[in-house]
């Protein structure tokens, strides 16, 4: 976590109270700003803070400022529960955000439900409850989507492979990653591929070579990994050190763009729902500018998730009007369409029954000698 976030969190915690809640939109955040998975969440929350600072600088929403109250939960359920209780009862948050591990969800969901406050998952994995038929109080902006991601990745492999595909799977030993890879291993034979058993790698591991050895010995010519970035990239690099020549497809986490440039391997594909900054869209320039102005130490290409969350929160609060009650914000979120200006393949659209998005878009990137290129342009799946 950056000192700027800590200071912001401390100031927010110290200055924001119920009095503030009356003249500003109060948005409470419990996030894993420290702890092992912080690299996934801290840059996103930094981006969200920068985005909301920009909104406030432009006069706020409906003439009112937005107060972000950020609390660090270190990815620990007990801390997340305490944060949620404090944010809802002391800070009077009208919207609660979870940006942490899935193990923190249950207590945070319970607190939000008791308080009747809508809960947004931003940069953290979307829970089942946001997919149709959605739970009325839970929403999600995060790019990755279990089962859809595997279907999209395997479709790409099928389209790209010239020979018979013998595919290996690499997961981290956490329920979400393991479940997704087991799903993919079942899907692959339906697409005519030979699926190897899933390699479940404990976090963290001193040396990934033994796991890579097993994948290589299994004869895989493709490997698919859907796990935290460290597992994905270290499995790949260990495979290459073993002189494995196959193709590797993996999820485009926040780190993907920088890592594609570092690894420089034409057979290392990243599949994701966010456009990389290599596209150089106007909104990318906007993020780079805001990032520079804020003096953030996180690279701008890691800020897309937080920026999207900011855009969605702005739209939701705008739709709720002023004064905004949690019920009004929830109603606004249940009928929302946000143009992401190219950050994704399509808008985020929430309906009464769908709090994920109606279409999930994917794009595949790879390194091509001197730069990052699109290996497969936007393609989508209807979310039903």
């Amino acid at each position: 976590m950056r000192p700027s976030i800590i200071i912001a969190a401390a100031l927010a915690a110290g200055l924001t109270g119920s009095a503030h809640a009356q003249d500003a939109y109060v948005v409470g955040i419990t996030a894993a700003l420290t702890g092992p998975p912080a690299s996934t969440y801290a840059p996103a929350m930094e981006a969200l803070r920068i985005y909301i600072d920009g909104v406030n600088a432009r006069g706020g929403i409906n003439g009112k400022k937005v107060n972000l109250v950020i609390a660090d939960d270190s990815a620990e359920p007990s801390k997340a529960a305490a944060n949620a209780k404090k944010l809802l009862t002391q800070d009077n948050a009208a919207l609660l955000i979870n940006a942490s591990l899935s193990s923190t969800y249950a207590p945070v969901v319970a607190e939000a439900k008791n308080a009747g406050v809508p809960l947004l998952f931003a940069s953290s994995v979307c829970p089942r409850e946001v997919y149709p038929p959605a739970n009325e109080g839970q929403f999600c902006t995060t790019a990755f989507a279990s089962t859809y991601d595997s279907r999209a990745a395997l479709a790409f492999v099928k389209d790209t492979a010239k020979d018979t595909v013998k595919i290996g799977f690499s997961a981290m030993a956490i329920p979400l990653s393991r479940g997704e890879m087991e799903f993919a291993a079942k899907q692959a034979p339906l697409l005519g591929m030979v699926a190897l058993p899933v390699e479940v790698i404990p976090p963290p591991t001193a040396d990934y070579t033994p796991f890579a050895t097993k994948l290589k010995d299994g004869g895989a010519n493709w490997v698919f990994s859907w796990a935290p970035w460290v597992t994905q990239v270290r499995t790949f690099e260990a495979l290459r050190r073993l002189d494995w020549k196959g193709d590797f497809i993996t999820w485009a986490h926040l780190e993907a763009e920088g890592e594609l440039k570092r690894i420089k391997d034409g057979k290392f594909f990243v599949i994701g729902a966010n456009a990389l900054f290599e596209d150089n869209l106007p909104i990318h320039k906007e993020i780079i500018e805001a990032n520079k102005k804020a003096g953030s130490k996180y690279p701008p290409e890691q800020m897309t998730e937080g920026w999207i969350a900011g855009m969605v929160i702005e739209a939701a609060l705008k739709g709720a009007g002023w004064p905004a009650t949690p019920a009004k914000i929830q109603a606004s979120m249940s009928n929302l369409k946000v143009d992401l200006k190219g950050l994704r393949g399509g808008p985020i659209e929430w309906t009464k029954d769908n709090h994920f998005r109606t279409k999930q878009f994917y794009r595949v990137y790879k390194w091509d000698g001197s730069k990052i290129v699109v290996a497969k342009d936007w393609y989508s799946y209807d979310v039903k």
Binding site: M1, S39, A238
Partner: protein, 290 residues
């Protein structure tokens, strides 16, 4: 052949880390539960020096190594020295607190992001083809060599070096050693310095081989069973324990279930505690003291 290479590399990692646990325990009977954090701190120090001396990798590494040694000595001088004469449990709990503090400070300074000190130093890490078809990365090979060198140096130091003999004396009978004029505080400080240094070298080489995140601390803890299986007061034991744990882990990945690799070290440890609680090369007397 690759299986053998994998076992040797993992055993070297565990052995290099485990000797830090042994050095401190052997001299002062303190279990240093901040060893993983100190190891990670060494890796982050390399990252810091790599950024400061990016044009001169040798200087960056030398400064990081010197800083690691200094940090170990400082930990003793400013923290653990106060624990002298207190219950061993108090000292162990102090190391737990130190670990928590270090973890927080490291995230604040260097963030939780994946970092690559090797890239900052301009190093590449090509794989080396070995006879028999095995392959090993350059930094993994250096790690194996460094572990061998470290253990050889420690054996010579402890057997023939003046300060090494003093360390052994202080470990065997601190009262008698003090009465013979050995400066116990200096000996303990040296043990902490050397322990942190060896752990830091492991951390630096792991980071150079595969990158650095704040989860490295757990790798430090995974080496703990190796020290216990071998016997907490024996360097030979740490070496043997590391080899056993690494073999069990790699073979379970290859032939049983990769997921078991997380559990197997502790199964081996439990089996050892049942059969020979003082470890393979540990002494029964030492266990009684625990």
């Amino acid at each position: 052949m690759q299986l053998t290479v994998n076992i040797v590399v993992l055993a070297s990692i565990y052995a290099l880390i485990a000797c830090g646990y042994v050095l401190i325990y052997r001299v002062s009977r303190v279990l240093n539960l901040a060893h993983g954090e100190l190891m990670m701190l060494g890796a982050y120090l390399l990252l810091a020096t790599a950024n400061s001396f990016s044009g001169n990798p040798a200087v960056a590494i030398a400064v990081a190594v010197a800083l690691s040694l200094t940090v170990g000595v400082m930990v003793y001088v400013f923290l653990m020295r106060k624990m002298t004469g207190e219950m061993v449990l108090a000292a162990v709990l102090t190391t737990v607190a130190l670990g928590i503090l270090l973890r927080g400070v490291m995230v604040l300074i260097w963030s939780a992001q994946q970092q690559y000190p090797g890239q900052a130093l301009g190093f590449s890490n090509p794989a080396i083809a070995l006879p028999g078809g095995g392959r090993i990365s350059t930094f993994a090979a250096i790690l194996v060599l460094m572990t061998a060198l470290t253990y050889a140096a420690l054996f010579v130091f402890l057997r023939f070096g003046t300060w090494g003999v003093r360390m052994r004396a202080a470990g065997q009978n601190p009262l008698l050693a003090a009465q013979r004029g050995i400066n116990l505080h200096a000996v303990y400080a040296l043990a902490w310095g050397l322990s942190t240094l060896t752990g830091s070298i492991a951390g630096m080489l792991i980071a150079l081989d595969s990158g650095l995140t704040n989860t490295m601390v757990i790798i430090g803890l995974k080496a703990f069973p190796a020290a216990l299986v071998g016997g907490l007061d024996s360097l030979v034991g740490a070496l043997a324990g590391a080899l056993i744990i690494a073999a069990a882990e790699v073979l379970s990945i290859q032939y049983i279930d990769p997921l078991l690799s997380d559990v197997v070290p502790f199964l081996v440890l439990i089996a050892m505690l049942v059969v020979r609680p003082w470890g393979l090369f540990g002494t029964r007397e030492e266990l009684d003291r625990v």
